[in-house]
Assembly symmetry: C2
Homo-oligomer: 332 residues x 2
Amino acid sequence: MTDRPGPSGEDSLIARYFKPLAIDPGAFGLVDDAAVLKARGEDIVVTTDAIVEGVHFLPDDPPDTVARKALRVNLSDLAAKGATTAGFVLTLALRRADDAWLSAFARGLGEDARTFDCPLLGGDTVSTPGPLTVSITAFGRVPAGRMVPRSGARPGDRVMVTGTIGDAAVGLDILTGGPAASALASDAAARDMLIGRYRVPQPRNGLAEAIRTHASGAMDVSDGLAGDLTKLCAASDVSAVIEVPRIPISAAAQGVLAQRAVDIEALISGGDDYEILCTVPDISCAALSAAAAQAGIALTAIGTVIAGSDAPRFLDKEGRELPLARRSYSHF
Amino acid sequence: MTDRPGPSGEDSLIARYFKPLAIDPGAFGLVDDAAVLKARGEDIVVTTDAIVEGVHFLPDDPPDTVARKALRVNLSDLAAKGATTAGFVLTLALRRADDAWLSAFARGLGEDARTFDCPLLGGDTVSTPGPLTVSITAFGRVPAGRMVPRSGARPGDRVMVTGTIGDAAVGLDILTGGPAASALASDAAARDMLIGRYRVPQPRNGLAEAIRTHASGAMDVSDGLAGDLTKLCAASDVSAVIEVPRIPISAAAQGVLAQRAVDIEALISGGDDYEILCTVPDISCAALSAAAAQAGIALTAIGTVIAGSDAPRFLDKEGRELPLARRSYSHF
């Protein structure tokens, strides 16, 4: 028997849905004010990304995919930086505490936390009159001084990307009733695949260690390949030439392209790919490709880093430069 | 000369307002996807807290106080955990990029980052159709295994608090036109002091090391003294008896109490104090008090930890138990 008063609505929400996820000893079962991350001599890599209802996900996206996307956009940064996952903290701004929604959200989050070996360490749950907002700060580890920077690309390096580019942009077009929706009206499998790529990114954490070993520079593609490569080149003070026909495009997105429902520019300047974009010295390309093959992750060379300060050029199969009006997504 | 395209609105916003704050080498000038926190063998203490317009601050609060509050509610957790500050990451969800607002916000944030020796390491800026939301994850350091937990209180320990309790609750009452506003209609200095306590908490980071050395358990008072002490007792599996007349109340709040515009229950169950609540073995009380005096921080013994599982009791000057209908603020 105890006379302790019951937990507040907020504490009870945390205990019910999130405590089961807090399996790391540094999380203290979510009953303390802070978490502890053991350092063990490595550098701690820190990344933070928020997703907002109506901006980064749609109001009727399933709650478990919202959770997975919120975590995975952060895991994707850790992968690109060559870091192994160490844990994350979550801030959830909710309009109301809806049991069915929270239960599905927590289930998706817990499954991904296990899959990617990235335990929940702590968090904050607040009420908001506005859109649901999920803000995650994720932690990874690298040996001291070994985080793969944006700034390491050197002339002569190969430009490589994982997976396929542009699927999520087409998926969003389908979800919002754009031209791709009609183009794929009779192909449910392609629609589902592309929508899935928008809702649930596939961060390439299985390649993190190989990226750390072999890449000179890297970042994840979150705001569009063209814009993100432009940022990487600027940080490295180099330029690049990309052969557009080499950019890996999924069969589903190829189908939409063939029907001219979207154009290639939309795919390479769309966002939400969450693939790794990296630059790799020639001597390391074979080893990185072998590691990718072993991890079951597609890795494609799409161009070359060159000296200069021009924005990277994207060349079509005739060698003509693709005009890119908008290279990436920007919030403002 | 360069042909690099100009940065996007988002990148330019970050470069203009926040890059000047990113003075730590681990922040990479905010041009990378992640930050690096050097570990040096200590534990990294991680805390995360968000503040939402209309919930944790008012829409017309000055932007620099919004920034300070967002950072300080996190610094307060680090202080209570006995951690020295190491840095923070910021997620800012904005309706629009308003230069005057952002410039004042960044100035306040930068000043506090310097004052508390807690540099900006990274962040994310996103657009939202909803209320302005500032989410911060802050990092501190403690020697391995030395974070001060909620769970360390033992029967016989003294219960102590820094500063004064209830000022922020009265300040919010004034700002929202409650009874305290009329009670202090002719006392601008008291009104300003109490409003200041709501808008700009005074985290006690100067006492962090002494808390780590002398306290058995600690947390910051964010949701109300009564409720937070109840949580600390539950985490420690103890109870406590508090002598209400010993709870430190500022002269300004005393004035409002004397006019019966608010009652003592409102002060001890209101939120936003951001003082340290700690339990201290008898043998360490004098040393902690001396450290507080040296740091210029008021520290008051208000009661005693006892064995048991009852909720802590709050006794008035006749030894009668104060009935507390609501012990703390809860979002849900």
